[in-house]
C-alpha cells in the first residue's frame, strides 16, 4: 500500500542525491531537529526489539508476528500477573474471580461500565465469546456462560488451578462485535484494532508505529499521550539511540551498561529470570543417541563446568545463578523443597566429575578421555551461529569438560539448522533457553519441560509442551498430574519435592545461568518507573501486559 509514495519520494531523493551528493548540507543534528519539531515530553519512544521493516499486525491471535503494543496497551486480559512477585494478581478488566473447590468451575466478575475504544460496551458476552474463539478454544472447556452483564461462569472437565494465569492473565479479551465478523483470524492483520486498553493506534509506517492515549479509558486517559515503537536492526543501534537520548525505553543485552547509564539520564534494571541450560537428548528409549543418555555423564558435566567463569566471560557478569530445581529465587522460595538444591554448583569440580564417571563404570582411554565398553564419550554441543553468548559459553563448557576427561565438541550452526534438530530430538547437547514460569509457582516449568506428555519420540515434535530433552520419568509424571489437581499448598509442595529430587539428579537440562534481562529507561524525562523497592511490573518493553502497567504508572517530567 505504501509502494508508490515510497518509490516516487525515494526516486526524487536519489536524483538529488546524485546531483548534490557532496554538497548536501545536513539541516541540523538529528537530536535537535526531531527535538524542536516534536518537543512534547509526553511522547515516549520505545524499542521493544522489532526489526525493520515493520509489518502492521495488531491481531492478538498472531502470538508470533503481532506488534508489541498489541498485548496490554491495546488488548487487555482480565487480571495482571506480576512475574516478579508472589502478590495476588491486579484487576484489569476483571474485578474478582473464584474457583470452585474441585477447580472445574471458574466464576469471573467484570468491572462495571467497561467500554471498547469504539464506544461499544464491554460485557460478559465479549468474555464468553473470547474464551470460545479461535486458539482460545479448549476441549476441556465444557460450557461458558454469561450469568449477567458482568459475570462469567466457565466449566471445565478437569481442574484448572494451574491454568489460572493462562486463562485470566494471558487471554486477551476481544470485542465480539468485531471478531465475530472476521472470516479467518489467521489471515487477519487487524490494522485498526478495537481494544479496551489505555492506548489506541495513531499511525503506522514500515519504520515505526505510534499509539496514542485512549480518551475513554476507564481510569481516564494515561499521562503519557503517545508511545512510538521503533524498528531497529541491531543492538548497537539501540544502544547508540539510547545514549544520544533518542529512545526512552528498551530491553536488550548491553555488556557494559555503565556506558549507557553514565550521565544519569538512563537507569537500568536487571531482573534475571529465564534459565539458560544445556538441553540434552536424555532418553535412549525415546530414540536419543549418544553418551549423554546416561545420567552419570550429565551429572559429570554438571559438576565440571565453572559457572562463575562462564557468567563473567560469556555474559559480562550480568547473569544470575541457576538452580536444578528450576524455581525462581527468591520469588518461589516457598516451593523449594531442599535448600541444598539451590544454586547449581558454583565452582568446577573435576575430581567429583571423575568420581561420578568411574563409579558408573567409565575409565580413561589412551587419549585421556573417559570411555565405557571401549566407546569413548564424545559429545556434540551446538548453538546458533551469531548468538555470541551461547557460542562463547559452549566453547568454555567444552574446555572445562575436557579438563575433567569428558570429550565435548562445541560447534555453531545456522539458525535454520538449530531449531529443527532441537525440536525433533536429533541432537546430543545444545545451548538453550527455557522460559521461566510467569507466576510465583514453578508448575509450568515442570509441566512444559519435564512432563512425559510434553515430549515425543525422536523424529517427531511434541504436540504439547516443550520437553525437547525427551525426558520421561514416571515419578515426575505422577507428581505433575497430582500437583495440577490440587490447590492445597502443602500437598502441592510435597509433589514438587518429588519432582525436584528427580530432575536435580537426572539433569535432563543442565542449568548454566539465569539469563540477563536488562531494561533501560529514561528517568530524566519520565518518572514512575519500577524500582527494586517497588517492583510493580517487570520493566521489559517486549513482555506481554507488563509494559501496559508500566505505561500507566509513568508521568512526563515537565
Amino acid at each position: 500500500m505504501k509502494t508508490i509514495p515510497v518509490g516516487v519520494a525515494a526516486a526524487a531523493v536519489a536524483i538529488s542525491l546524485v546531483l548534490t551528493a557532496c554538497t548536501a548540507t545536513p539541516p541540523a543534528p538529528t537530536a535537535s531537529s526531531s527535538g524542536t519539531t516534536a518537543p512534547k515530553a509526553s511522547v515516549l519512544r520505545v524499542w521493544a526489539g522489532s526489526s525493520t521493516p515493520i509489518t502492521v499486525d495488531f491481531n492478538p491471535f498472531h502470538v508470533d508476528t503481532a506488534l508489541f503494543g498489541t498485548y496490554g496497551p491495546i488488548y487487555e486480559p482480565l487480571f495482571f500477573y506480576n512475574q516478579l512477585s508472589a502478590d495476588p494478581p491486579t484487576p484489569m478488566l476483571g474485578e474478582t474471580f473464584a474457583y470452585s473447590a474441585d477447580g472445574r468451575t471458574v466464576t469471573i466478575k467484570l468491572k462495571p461500565n467497561l467500554k471498547w475504544s469504539d464506544g461499544e460496551p464491554l460485557t460478559a458476552d465479549d468474555v464468553v465469546f473470547t474464551l470460545g474463539y479461535g486458539p482460545n478454544k479448549s476441549d476441556k472447556l465444557t460450557s461458558v456462560t454469561a450469568t449477567d452483564a458482568t459475570t462469567v461462569g466457565a466449566k471445565y472437565s478437569t481442574p484448572q488451578f494451574t491454568n489460572e494465569s493462562q486463562l485470566l492473565g494471558a487471554t486477551m479479551i476481544v470485542p465480539k462485535h468485531v471478531w465475530s465478523k472476521v472470516a479467518n483470524y489467521m489471515k487477519e492483520t487487524n490494522p485498526k484494532p478495537v481494544g479496551s486498553g489505555a492506548y489506541v493506534v495513531k499511525t503506522t509506517s514500515d519504520a515505526s508505529y505510534t499509539l496514542t492515549a485512549n480518551a475513554d479509558y476507564r481510569d481516564g486517559p494515561p499521562p503519557i499521550s503517545d508511545v512510538q515503537y521503533l524498528g531497529l536492526d541491531s543492538n548497537q543501534s539501540g544502544q547508540d539511540m539510547l545514549t544520544t537520548g533518542q529512545i526512552d525505553w528498551t530491553g536488550m543485552f548491553v555488556a557494559n551498561p555503565d556506558t549507557v547509564t553514565g550521565d544519569g539520564a538512563i537507569a537500568t534494571m536487571n531482573a534475571q529470570q529465564d534459565p539458560t541450560v544445556i538441553v540434552t537428548c536424555s532418553d535412549a528409549a525415546k530414540g536419543c543417541k549418544g553418551a549423554q543418555t546416561d545420567p552419570a555423564v550429565r551429572q559429570a558435566l554438571n559438576a565440571a563446568i565453572d559457572r562463575p567463569a562462564l557468567a563473567e566471560k560469556a555474559w559480562a557478569g550480568l547473569v544470575g545463578e541457576a538452580n536444578p530445581a528450576f524455581v525462581l529465587l527468591p520469588r518461589d522460595q516457598q516451593w523449594l523443597s531442599d535448600p541444598a538444591l539451590a544454586p547449581s554448583p558454583q565452582s568446577p569440580n573435576a575430581a567429583q566429575a571423575q568420581q561420578i564417571l568411574e563409579a558408573a563404570g567409565y575409565a580413561k582411554d589412551a587419549k585421556g578421555f573417559y570411555a565405557k565398553d571401549g566407546k569413548e564419550v564424545d559429545l556434540d554441543l551446538f548453538s546458533p551461529d551469531g548468538w555470541t553468548d551461547y557460542n562463547d559459553a559452549a566453547k568454555l563448557i567444552a574446555e572445562e569438560a575436557g579438563k575433567a576427561g569428558v570429550k565435548v565438541t562445541a560447534r555453531t550452526v545456522s539458525e535454520a539448522e538449530y531449531w529443527t534438530p532441537v525440536t525433533n530430538g536429533d541432537f546430543q547437547l545444545a545451548m538453550y533457553g527455557l522460559t521461566q514460569s510467569l507466576v510465583a509457582d514453578p508448575f509450568s516449568n515442570y509441566d512444559q519441560y519435564f512432563y512425559g506428555k510434553s515430549t515425543a519420540k525422536v523424529g517427531d515434535a511434541p504436540t504439547r509442551g516443550q520437553n525437547y530433552a525427551r525426558y520421561a520419568n514416571g515419578v515426575v509424571d505422577a507428581a505433575v498430574e497430582a500437583a495440577g489437581a490440587t490447590n492445597d499448598p502443602a500437598a502441592k509442595k510435597a509433589e514438587y519435592a518429588k519432582i525436584q529430587a528427580q530432575i536435580a539428579k537426572d539433569l535432563p537440562y543442565i542449568p548454566v545461568v539465569l539469563n540477563a534481562s536488562q531494561a533501560f529507561f529514561n528517568t530524566k524525562g519520565f518518572t514512575g518507573w519500577p524500582t527494586n523497592d517497588n517492583l510493580y511490573a517487570d520493566p521489559l518493553p517486549y513482555l506481554s501486559v507488563a509494559p501496559a502497567i508500566v505505561l500507566l504508572h509513568l508521568k512526563p517530567v515537565s
Binding site: 514500515d206 519504520a207 544520544t244 522460559t435
Partner: protein
C-alpha cells in the same frame, strides 16, 4: 541479426535454468520451516497448547507437504510466477512477498544504486588522472584507497557511526528518514526529501569508501597500459593537446573493461547491501534476504532471488548488446 537472436536464445535458456534453480535451492536447505514456526509459536504462546488444527494449518501453509510430488510443485511454482504471485511470507505472515519486496526495492535501488554510480565515476575519474600522472606522488592514492577497501565494511561503518552520529551528532544513527518527524512514513514534501537525503548520506558514503579503491586501481592500471599503445604515441607525435590525448584517446579506451564490471555491479545493486542495511537499519532487499534465509521463509527467499536473478541477467544482456554495438569484433565472433 543472427548475433542478436543467438544472444536472446542464450538468455532465455539461462533464465529458465536460473528460475528452476531458484525453485530447487531452498528445498535443498537443511531445516523444516514448519517446525521452526511451530517452535516459535510454542515459545511465544507461553505454554498454551497448540491445537492439532493449528499445527496442521501451519504444515499446509508452509508448503513442506511431502505428499505433493516435486514435479507438481514445480509446475505450480511456474503457474504462480507467471501470474505474478510470489506467495505469502511465513516470517511476516500474512504479508505477500510482492508487497515486502515492492516496499524495499526503491530504497535499495536509490541508495545502493546511487552509491555504486558515485563510486564508479569517482574511481574512473581519479584512476584516469592517477594513471596519467604515473610515477608521481599521486601513485600513493592507489594503496591508500585499497587499504580503505580492505577494512572490514562492518567495522568501518560502526566507526563512522560512532564518530559522526554518536559523538559529534552531525548525522543520524539509523533509518531512511526521521521517524520521529514522520511517524506515518514517507510523504510528498520537501522536508521529507531533505530528511531522506540526510539519512542516506552516511550509508552511501560507507559504500563509496569501501568500493572506490577497486575501480580506481583497475582504471589506473588500464590507463598506464593504454598509454604505451602506438596510437597514443601517434597522437603525441601529431602534437595534440595533452588533455585531449588523456581524455579522448587514453581514458576512453582504458575505461572499456571497467564498464563490463560496472554492468555486473549495477545488476547486483538490487541485492542491496546486507551489512549496510543492518548497521543503519536502512530499508532494503538485503535485509529481506537475510531474514528469509534465517527464518527459512521459502516464498520470500525465492522472491528475492528471483528479483536479483532477473536484474543481473537484464544488466548482462544490455551490456552484451551494448558491447556488440561498440565493438564489431564481439559480433563477428560471438
Amino acid at each position: 541479426m543472427v548475433f542478436y537472436l543467438r544472444r536472446i536464445a542464450f538468455y532465455l535458456v539461462t533464465l529458465w535454468a536460473a528460475i528452476s534453480l531458484n525453485f530447487l535451492l531452498p528445498r535443498m536447505m537443511p531445516g523444516d520451516p514448519a517446525a521452526i514456526m511451530i517452535g516459535k509459536l510454542r515459545r511465544a504462546s507461553g505454554g498454551r497448547e497448540l491445537s492439532e488444527e493449528t499445527v496442521k494449518a501451519i504444515y499446509a501453509l508452509l508448503g513442506a507437504d511431502k505428499s505433493v510430488p516435486a514435479w507438481d510443485q514445480y509446475l505450480a511454482y511456474w503457474g504462480r510466477l507467471l501470474s505474478g504471485d510470489l506467495g505469502v511470507s511465513s516470517t511476516r505472515y500474512p504479508y505477500p512477498v510482492a508487497t515486502l519486496i515492492g516496499n524495499a526495492l526503491p530504497w535499495t535501488l536509490l541508495m545502493v544504486g546511487a552509491a555504486t554510480v558515485i563510486s564508479f565515476v569517482l574511481g574512473i575519474v581519479i584512476g584516469a588522472w592517477v594513471g596519467w600522472k604515473r610515477g608521481t606522488w599521486l601513485d600513493h592514492l592507489v594503496p591508500a584507497t585499497s587499504l580503505l577497501q580492505s577494512i572490514p565494511y562492518f567495522w568501518l561503518a560502526l566507526v563512522l557511526v560512532a564518530a559522526f552520529s554518536v559523538q559529534l551528532r552531525w548525522l543520524p544513527i539509523v533509518g531512511a528518514y526521521d521517524v520521529f518527524a514522520f511517524p506515518s512514513g514517507p510523504e510528498w514534501s520537501w522536508d521529507f526529501m531533505v530528511s531522506a537525503l540526510y539519512h542516506a548520506f552516511l550509508p552511501a558514503l560507507t559504500i563509496v569508501i569501501s568500493s572506490v579503491g577497486g575501480w580506481l586501481l583497475g582504471m589506473r592500471n588500464m590507463m598506464v597500459s593504454t598509454m604505451s599503445e602506438d596510437y597514443v604515441l601517434t597522437a603525441e607525435a601529431k602534437g595534440l593537446r595533452p588533455s585531449r590525448i588523456r581524455d579522448r584517446y587514453a581514458a576512453r579506451n582504458a575505461a572499456i573493461p571497467s564498464l563490463a564490471g560496472f554492468s555486473i555491479a549495477l545488476g547486483f545493486v538490487v541485492a542491496g547491501s546486507i551489512v549496510t542495511e543492518q548497521v543503519f537499519s536502512y530499508p532494503g532487499i538485503g535485509k529481506l534476504m537475510i531474514q528469509s534465509v534465517q527464518g527459512l521463509d521459502y516464498a520470500l527467499m525465492q522472491g528475492v532471488f528471483l528479483v536479483i536473478t532477473l536484474t543481473v541477467l537484464a544488466a548482462n544482456f544490455l551490456m552484451d548488446l551494448f558491447y556488440g554495438l561498440i565493438d564489431p569484433r564481439v559480433r563477428s565472433h560471438g
